[in-house]
C-alpha cells in the first residue's frame, strides 16, 4: 500500500523534475521569462521543486500506513512504543 502510494508520488515528482531538466537544457528562452514580472521561470521552478518536495512528503506522511513488516515480527507493545 505504502509502496504504491510512494510510487505514485515519485512519478508525479519525477515528471516535474524531468520537465525542469528539459526546459533548463533546451529552452533557455522559456526559463528566462518573468511571467509575473518578478522572479524568472528558472528560479520559480527551482523553488517550486523544493516546496513541491515538502508538499508531497507531507501527503505521504498523512496517507502512509504503519504496516507490520513481514520479515521481522514485532509485539504490539513495541509497535505502540515506536511512535511515542
Amino acid at each position: 500500500m505504502n509502496r504504491r502510494l510512494g510510487l505514485v508520488l515519485f512519478l508525479i515528482y519525477s515528471s516535474f523534475y524531468a520537465l525542469f531538466m528539459v526546459l533548463a537544457a533546451f529552452y533557455p528562452n522559456v526559463v528566462a521569462l518573468r511571467p509575473t514580472g518578478g522572479l524568472n521561470v528558472a528560479v520559480g521552478y527551482g523553488f517550486g521543486l523544493i516546496f513541491g518536495a515538502f508538499a508531497l512528503s507531507l501527503v505521504y506522511l498523512l496517507l502512509a500506513r504503519d504496516e507490520t513488516p513481514k520479515t521481522t515480527k514485532r509485539t504490539d507493545a513495541e509497535r505502540t512504543g515506536a511512535d511515542s
Binding site: 515528482y13 533548463a24 537544457a25 528560479v43 523553488f47 512528503s57 504503519d66 513488516p69 509497535r79
Partner: protein
C-alpha cells in the same frame, strides 16, 4: 588567542563534548555501528540533514552560486530532489531488509558472497570519493580562520575525526550530526536575514574599460594583455579601451612567483572581489530588501564577475589571469553561467552554419547539454544510493520512524537549500570573495558582517565537516568489517573483534582521505560531491531499485551491475577534463571522455547489465525470501 578563535574553539569543543557525553554508552558492535536502532525519529531526521548538509552543501554550493549564480542553485534543487527518491522508493523497503549496511540489505535476499563483496567495495569507493570534498572543504575553512595552509587544515580535521570515530561510534556521530544540523540551518537563517537587511550597495573599486595605458609591453606575445610601466596588467578590450586585471605568475615547475606584479616573497594576496556595479534606477544603495525584491533587484542590476584565463609565456611561466566582466544580473539567475554549461544558453557566438567552426560549436553546445542533464540525473539518483545516508535508516526503530525522520530531514534540508541562494548571491556582492578558492565564499561573507558571525559560521562549518567525515568513515569501516572481512574470512567475527577491526579500518580510511583531500585541493567541493553522486548512483541505484521492484533479479545480476556501474563511472570521472586540469595538471583538451558527468551513460548501463545478466545467467540462486509487497 583572539576572540574569533576563542568562539570558534568553544563552539567546536562543546559540540564534540556534548556528543561524546550523549554517546558514551555505546559499547557493543550493534551500538557502535547502528546506535542500537534506538535514535528517536526527530533526532534522526535532523541528523539526516546534518549528514547531508556537508561541507559541500554549505561551502560548495554557496561558493558556486557566488561565482556562477544559478548554476550553483541547481545543486541545491537536485540534492533535495534526490530525497524524494529516498523517501518514496527506497526508505521503507530497505529498512525492512537490512541491519547494518547496504550490503546487508542486498544479502538478506540472496545468500551470495559476491553480492556482499561488491556492495562493500562500492560502499568503500563511494565513501572515499565523498570524503575527498569534505577534506578539501576543511582546508578551505581553516585558511581564512587560522591562516594555515590548506594541507594543515586537512590533517587537523582528519586527525580529529579519526579520534571521534575510534573512540565513539554511531551514537556520538548521530548526536554530532543532530546538533550541527540544527545549528547550521538556524545560523544560515540568521545570516540570510542579515544579508537581506544589508541589501545591495554599488561598489566601483574595480573599473573596467579604461583609457588604454601608454608605454606598455606584452608579457604574453600574441595575446591581448598589456603590462604598463608601473607594473599593472591590463586586458585590451575590442573597443580600444583596457581593463585592469588581477593575476598570478607560476614558474614552469609550479612555484608561485608573482601576485599582481608583487614578488611572492612579500606574500601578496589577490584583492578580494565581488561587487555590484549598477543598481536599477541608478541608485547607490537599496537598503533592506525582502526575499523576492532581493532577487528581482539583483536581476535588474549589473554585477562584476571575474573570468579566469590561463596562459603560458615564452619562458613557460603560467599566467593565471582574472578579468572583471560586467554581467547583467538576469543572466546570473539563469542556468549556463558556468563554463561547463555555457552551451545550454543557445547563445554561443552566433552559430553560422556556413562557417567552418560551426560544427565544432554545435558539438560543444550539445555536449554542454548532455553534461547538464547528466549532472541533474546524478543528483536525483545519487542521494538514495549514498552509503552514509543509507546507514542512517538502521539507527531508527522501524519503518514508520524511517519515514518520519526522512520527512523531517527533507524539511530541514529544503529550507537550508532555499537559504543557499540568498547566501551565495550575498557573497557574490559582498566584496570579500577569494578568487583562488570558491569554497570560502560563505565564511568570508559572514566576515563582512562581523567577526562573531564569522566565528560562529566557521565553527558550524567545521563541525559539519567533522560530522560528515565521521559518518562516512563509519560507513566505510562498517563495510570493511561486516562485509569484506566477514565474507572474506568466511567466519563471523566476535563482537570485540568487530569493534576493533572497525576502528583499525577507520584509521586507514581516514589517512587515505587526508591524502586525497590534499591532492584535490583546487576543486569546488560541490563539483567533487557531484562526482561522488555519479558514482553512487551508477553503482548502487540499479541494484537497489531492481532488487525492490523486479522479481527476476538474480544475485549475479546485482553484483555485475554494481561492479560495472562503479568502475565505469569511476574511470569516467578520472578521465574527464576536470581531473586532467585540476588533479593531474595536464591540458584539459587531452581528456579521454567528452563530458564530465557520467551518470547519463553509466546509470542506464547499470540497469541494462543487471537485466541482461539476470536473464542470461539465470541459474544463480533465486530469491529465497519473498520480495516485500
Amino acid at each position: 588567542m583572539n576572540a574569533t578563535l576563542l568562539v570558534f574553539s568553544l563552539l567546536v569543543g562543546s559540540v564534540l563534548g556534548i556528543s561524546f557525553w550523549l554517546g558514551r554508552k555505546a559499547k557493543s558492535s550493534e551500538g557502535y555501528f547502528a546506535a542500537h536502532g534506538e535514535i528517536p525519529w526527530f533526532i534522526n531526521g535532523i541528523a539526516f540533514a546534518g549528514d547531508y548538509l556537508s561541507a559541500a552543501s554549505f561551502l560548495g554550493i554557496c561558493g558556486m552560486i557566488a561565482f556562477y549564480g544559478y548554476d550553483g542553485f541547481l545543486y541545491s534543487v537536485g540534492f533535495l530532489a534526490g530525497w524524494v527518491v529516498a523517501l518514496f522508493v527506497i526508505a521503507e523497503p530497505l529498512k525492512r531488509l537490512g541491519r547494518f549496511t547496504f550490503a546487508d540489505a542486498l544479502a538478506s535476499r540472496f545468500a551470495s558472497r559476491s553480492i556482499t563483496l561488491s556492495a562493500a567495495i562500492s560502499t568503500l569507493v563511494v565513501s572515499v570519493f565523498y570524503l575527498i570534498p569534505q577534506m578539501v572543504g576543511a582546508g578551505a575553512l581553516i585558511r581564512p580562520l587560522l591562516g594555515w595552509e590548506h594541507w594543515q587544515g586537512v590533517l587537523v580535521v582528519g586527525a580529529i575525526v579519526t579520534v571521534i570515530v575510534v573512540t565513539a561510534g554511531m551514537v556520538s556521530t548521530t548526536w554530532v550530526q543532530f546538533i550541527k544540523g540544527s545549528l547550521l540551518v538556524v545560523f544560515c537563517g540568521v545570516l540570510t536575514v542579515l544579508v537581506l537587511r544589508r541589501g545591495f550597495v554599488v561598489d566601483d573599486r574595480f573599473p573596467t574599460h579604461q583609457k588604454s595605458p601608454e608605454d606598455t609591453t606584452e608579457p604574453l606575445p600574441g595575446l591581448p594583455f598589456l603590462l604598463d610601466a608601473s607594473g599593472r596588467l591590463f586586458k585590451k578590450e575590442n573597443d580600444g579601451s583596457a581593463t585592469p586585471v588581477q593575476w598570478t605568475v607560476t614558474s614552469a615547475d609550479g612555484r608561485l612567483e608573482e601576485v599582481n606584479g608583487q614578488p611572492s616573497s612579500a606574500s601578496p594576496k589577490l584583492r578580494p572581489v565581488g561587487s555590484i556595479v549598477a543598481l536599477p534606477g541608478g541608485v547607490e544603495k537599496t537598503g533592506p530588501l525582502g526575499p523576492e525584491s532581493f532577487l528581482t533587484t539583483l536581476s535588474e542590476s549589473e554585477v562584476l564577475l571575474w573570468k579566469k584565463e590561463t596562459h603560458v609565456d615564452p619562458k613557460k611561466r603560467v599566467y593565471g589571469i582574472w578579468v572583471p566582466t560586467r554581467t547583467r544580473g538576469e543572466n546570473l539567475l539563469l542556468p549556463g553561467q558556468h563554463k561547463l554549461f555555457q552551451g545550454i544558453r543557445g547563445n554561443l557566438p552566433s552559430i553560422d552554419p556556413a562557417r567552418p567552426e560551426s560544427a565544432e560549436l554545435r558539438k560543444k553546445a550539445l555536449l554542454s547539454r548532455v553534461d547538464f542533464l547528466s549532472l541533474l540525473l546524478a543528483l536525483f539518483c545519487g542521494t538514495a544510493s549514498l552509503p552514509h545516508i543509507l546507514i542512517r535508516y538502521y539507527t531508527v526503530k522501524d519503518e514508520p520512524s524511517a519515514r518520519k525522520s526522512t520527512v523531517v530531514g527533507i524539511f530541514a534540508i529544503g529550507f537550508f537549500y532555499v537559504l543557499t541562494l540568498f547566501i551565495g548571491l550575498g557573497a557574490m556582492t559582498s566584496g570579500a570573495l577569494d578568487l583562488t578558492d570558491t569554497n570560502t565564499a560563505a565564511p568570508l561573507l559572514a566576515k563582512t558582517i562581523g567577526e562573531l558571525p564569522f566565528a560562529v559560521i566557521s565553527a558550524i562549518a567545521f563541525t559539519t565537516v567533522l560530522g560528515t567525515v565521521a559518518g562516512l568513515v563509519m560507513a566505510a569501516s562498517g563495510a570493511i568489517v561486516h562485509d569484506l572481512l566477514g565474507s572474506v574470512l568466511g567466519r563471523t567475527l566476535t563482537d570485540l573483534e568487530q569493534v576493533r577491526a572497525g576502528k583499525t579500518a577507520a584509521i586507514v580510511v581516514g589517512a587515505l582521505a587526508m591524502l586525497l583531500g590534499i591532492q584535490f585541493a583546487s576543486m569546488n567541493v560541490s563539483f567533487l560531491v557531484a562526482w561522488a553522486f555519479n558514482i553512487a548512483a551508477s553503482a548502487n541505484l540499479p541494484a537497489l531499485v531492481l532488487l525492490l521492484f523486479w522479481r527476476g533479479t538474480t544475485a549475479r545480476g546485482i553484483s555485475a551491475a554494481i561492479l560495472t556501474g562503479l568502475f565505469t563511472s569511476l574511470a569516467w570521472v578520472l578521465a574527464s577534463r576536470e581531473a586532467f586540469e585540476n588533479v593531474y595538471g595536464l591540458p584539459a583538451e587531452d581528456a579521454l571522455v567528452p563530458f564530465s558527468q557520467p551518470a547519463i551513460v553509466t546509470v542506464p548501463l547499470g540497469f541494462v547489465v543487471l537485466v541482461v545478466v539476470s536473464l542470461t545467467a539465470g541459474r544463480a540462486p533465486a530469491s529465497h525470501v519473498s520480495p516485500p509487497d
